[in-house]
Symmetry: D2
Subunit: 254 residues, 4 copies
Amino acid sequence: MKKVLIAGATGSMGKQAIRLVEKRADCQLVAVLAPTATANTELEKTVQRFDHLSAVETDADIWIDFTTPQAVFANTKFALEHHMRPIVGTSGLTADQIKNLQRLASEKNLGGIIAPNFGLSAVLLMKFAQAAARYFPEAEIVELHHADKVDAPSATAIATAKMIAAGRHKAEQKSARDAPRARGANYDGIAVHAVRLPGYVAHEQVLFGGPGEALTIRQDSFERSSFMQGVKVALDQVMNLTELVVGLENILTI
Amino acid sequence: MKKVLIAGATGSMGKQAIRLVEKRADCQLVAVLAPTATANTELEKTVQRFDHLSAVETDADIWIDFTTPQAVFANTKFALEHHMRPIVGTSGLTADQIKNLQRLASEKNLGGIIAPNFGLSAVLLMKFAQAAARYFPEAEIVELHHADKVDAPSATAIATAKMIAAGRHKAEQKSARDAPRARGANYDGIAVHAVRLPGYVAHEQVLFGGPGEALTIRQDSFERSSFMQGVKVALDQVMNLTELVVGLENILTI
Amino acid sequence: MKKVLIAGATGSMGKQAIRLVEKRADCQLVAVLAPTATANTELEKTVQRFDHLSAVETDADIWIDFTTPQAVFANTKFALEHHMRPIVGTSGLTADQIKNLQRLASEKNLGGIIAPNFGLSAVLLMKFAQAAARYFPEAEIVELHHADKVDAPSATAIATAKMIAAGRHKAEQKSARDAPRARGANYDGIAVHAVRLPGYVAHEQVLFGGPGEALTIRQDSFERSSFMQGVKVALDQVMNLTELVVGLENILTI
Amino acid sequence: MKKVLIAGATGSMGKQAIRLVEKRADCQLVAVLAPTATANTELEKTVQRFDHLSAVETDADIWIDFTTPQAVFANTKFALEHHMRPIVGTSGLTADQIKNLQRLASEKNLGGIIAPNFGLSAVLLMKFAQAAARYFPEAEIVELHHADKVDAPSATAIATAKMIAAGRHKAEQKSARDAPRARGANYDGIAVHAVRLPGYVAHEQVLFGGPGEALTIRQDSFERSSFMQGVKVALDQVMNLTELVVGLENILTI
C-alpha cells in the first residue's frame, strides 16, 4: 500500500487528485497540505491536515504537488529530504531548481516525476509525432485554443516542434525567412499555426505529408480533469523510478 | 436538345467535358475547337472539328471553353456574337474584358457563366461560410495544399475570407498588426493559415467558434475531375440565365 | 424594451437565460417562475418571483421556458393565454400538444418558438446539409457522443438524415438491407454511424462525396451554455414572428 | 551496391519500383521479369529482361515482387533458392505458403519482407494505435473508402482493431450483441464504422477517448504511389534482416 500526501489539496487539481487516490486500491491518502486550513470535511478521519510546510510530519511515500510556482520548489525539496517520491504537476520550476532537485533525488536514492503537462493525449501526440518524423520528415502543426489564450503558439506546440525536429534524421530546414504570414511561425523548420476561437478549449494537430499520403495526429483536451489520467500513470510507476524524471513522455512506453 | 461546342477539346478539362456532354440525354456535342488539329478519332462522326476560331461555323447553343488565357477573350466574344451561351472555365479574363463581355451578352440578350472555380465543394463551402458568419462572427481559415504551390494563402481562401467578412453584420475587426506569426495572415479581420505538405492536393477548412460550440466546414479536392460537377450545374441552368454571371456561387441555390 | 419572464429560473439553463437577458439592452427581466421558492438573492429587486403557475401575474411580453416535460404544456398555454410570446427550450411536448398551442397562438395573433435544440452550430449544420444534398446526393453521418449516451444514433442525427433526404431532388435510396454492420444504420437512404467514447461531449459530422471531391460539415457542442446563442437569436426575432414556429432552423436565415 | 531484380516490371507498381531503384545511389537495377516481353525501351542497356521465371539467370541480391497472386509463391521460392532477399508487395500468399517460405529463408540464412500494405501512413497508424491503447483502452475506428469498395470494413481496419485489442492490457470487451446498427461492427471489442462515398480514396481514423480528452490518429492514402515509401524503407533494411518478416510494421522503429 503506497501512502500518499497531496499538497495543494483545496485547488481544483488537488481535489481531483484526492478523488483519484481514494479510488485506488493500492494507495492510501494519509495527509493533505493546504495553505488555507479550510477543513475538507468530506475527507476521511484518518487523513492528516497541515496548513504549513513546516508543520508537515508524515510517513507518506509519495508527495503529489499541485500548488503554486512560489511553493513548488520548497515543497519538492522537503519531500525528497523526508524520503517522499514527488509527483509534481505544478509549473514554475526553473532549470536550475530542477537540476538541484535531481541531484538531491540522486543522493537520497529516490525517483519521481516533474511534469508540466499531465495530459496523456498531448504527451502521446508528442511521442507519436517524434516517431513519425523519422518516416515523414515534412510536418506542420496546427494548435487551436480558446480566444482568451494570450500567447501563440502554445508551449506544447513549440515542444512538439522540437520533438519532431529531433525525430527527423537530418534537418529538413525549410527556409521561412520571407515566407508569407499565412505560412505561420517556424520552429526548427516546422511551420506552426495557432487558431484562437471562442468555444475551443485546447487542441493540437500534427500533419505529416509524403508522396500520395498523409498522416495526422490530433489531441483534444476538453477538460483539465484529463490531467488525472497522467497522474494515474505516474502513481503506477513512481515507486520504480530510479531518478527524478522531467516530462510524462519519459515514463510512457510506446 | 441543347447543342454544344467545346473549345479546348484536347486538353485534360476539355476531354472530360466531352465525356460529360456525351453522357447527357439533354445535350448533343456538335463541334469541337482544338488549335492543334489532332483528330479525336473516338469522337462521333457527327461532331465537327475546327482548328481555328476563324474556321468555326456552327449552330451550337452553348460554348464550353477550357482553352488558354490568350484565347479565352476572343473565344467568348465570338460565342456571344454568334448567339452561343458561354460556359467559361478558362482563367485569365481581366475585369475590363469581363465587363465588355457582359455588355455584349446583354445586347445579344444572352446568359452564360464565367467561373474561375467550377469545384462544387469549394463554392458551397464559401456560401455556407458566408451564411454561418451571420451567427458566428468569429472565424479562421486553414487551407492545405501540396508542397509545390508557390502562393500562400490560396486565392480561394482569400475569396472565402472576403465572403465571411461580408456575411458578418458588423465588422469584427481583430487587430492583428502585432500578432505573432503563428496567428497567420489577416484578411478582413479573419486569420488565414496555409499548410503546404507533399501528399495533399487542395483542401480548405473554415472554423467558426462561439460560446461552448464550434462549427467547421471543410472541402477536399482530390482530383481536378471534380470540376465537371460544376460544369454539369452550369449546363443545367445556362439556357435560363438572363445575364453573363461571374462565379459558380451565383447560380447555386442554397 | 421587451419585458421577459423566465420559467425554470433555478435550473442550469434558466440561470444562464437570466444572465443573457440581464446583459441585453433591449430586454428587461421582470419576473421568474421557479417551483421551489428558492430566492435568487442576486436578482434585482425589480424582478418578481413566483413559485406556482397559478400565482403568476405579470405584464411580460416574452415567456422563456426551461422547465420540465411535465410543466411545459401548461406553462406555454398560460403564456399564450396571457398574451406572452413563448420561447420554449423544454423538451417533451407531444405533436398534439404542439398543434394545440399553435392553434391558440394563431387565435391570439401571437408568434413564438419551440426548439428542442437551441444549439446554433447543430441547427446550421442541418440547414447546410440539406442545402448541400441538392448538389451532393451521396452523404453519410458520423455522430460522436460521450460513452454514457444510451441511444444511438442521436435524435439530431436522425433529424439531419431526414433533412438531407428532403434536400435531395430524387431519392437516392441505397439498399442497405444486407449491408454489413460496419455500414451503420440506414435512415432515408443515408448511413448513420454513432461513436460512443469517454471524453467526447456532443459532435456531429456530415460527409458528402462526389467525383474527385468531398465536403464535410462538423459541429461540436462542448458545453450546454452554447444553447444561449440560439436563445439570443430567438429573442432577436420573437416579437416579429407571426406564428408559433417549431425548430430554430425555421427562424435562421442562410 | 545492392543489385535488384524487379518482377512485375510492367505493372503500375512495378514501373514505380523501377523509378525508385534507379534513383537510389546504393542500388542498381540489374534485371526485370515481365511475363509479356514488352520491351521497356527506356530501361538502361545494362538491365536484363526475362519473360519467364524459368529463364531468369541473375546475380541480383534483392527480388522485388509486384506480380500476381498466381505467380507470387513460385517467384518468392525461386528468389530464396537463388539467394535473393525478397521484398514482396504482391498479395495472395496463404498462411501455409508463408510458413513454407519462412522455413526456406531460414535454411538459406536469408532475410526479406512480405507486406500486404506498403503504405507508411497506414502502418504507422496501426503501430501508434496499438501503443495508445495501453493508455486509452476505449477506441473506435472509422474507415472511409470510395463508393466502389465492396467489402466493409476494410482488411486494414480489422487488422487495426486486432492490434488495438492486443495493445490493451486487459480485454475491455464491450458487449455489442444487441447494439443498434449505428454502433457499427464489433471486432475484438472495438466498434468499426465504414463510410463509402464517391470522391474518397482510402482513409482510416482511430478515435480514442478518456476522461476529458480525446486522441485521434488519421491516415489518408490519396494515391497508390504512396506505397513506394514503404518499399524504400524495405530496401534500406532488407540486407540486415535475419528472417522473412511479414508486415511492414515489424521493420519500422517507433
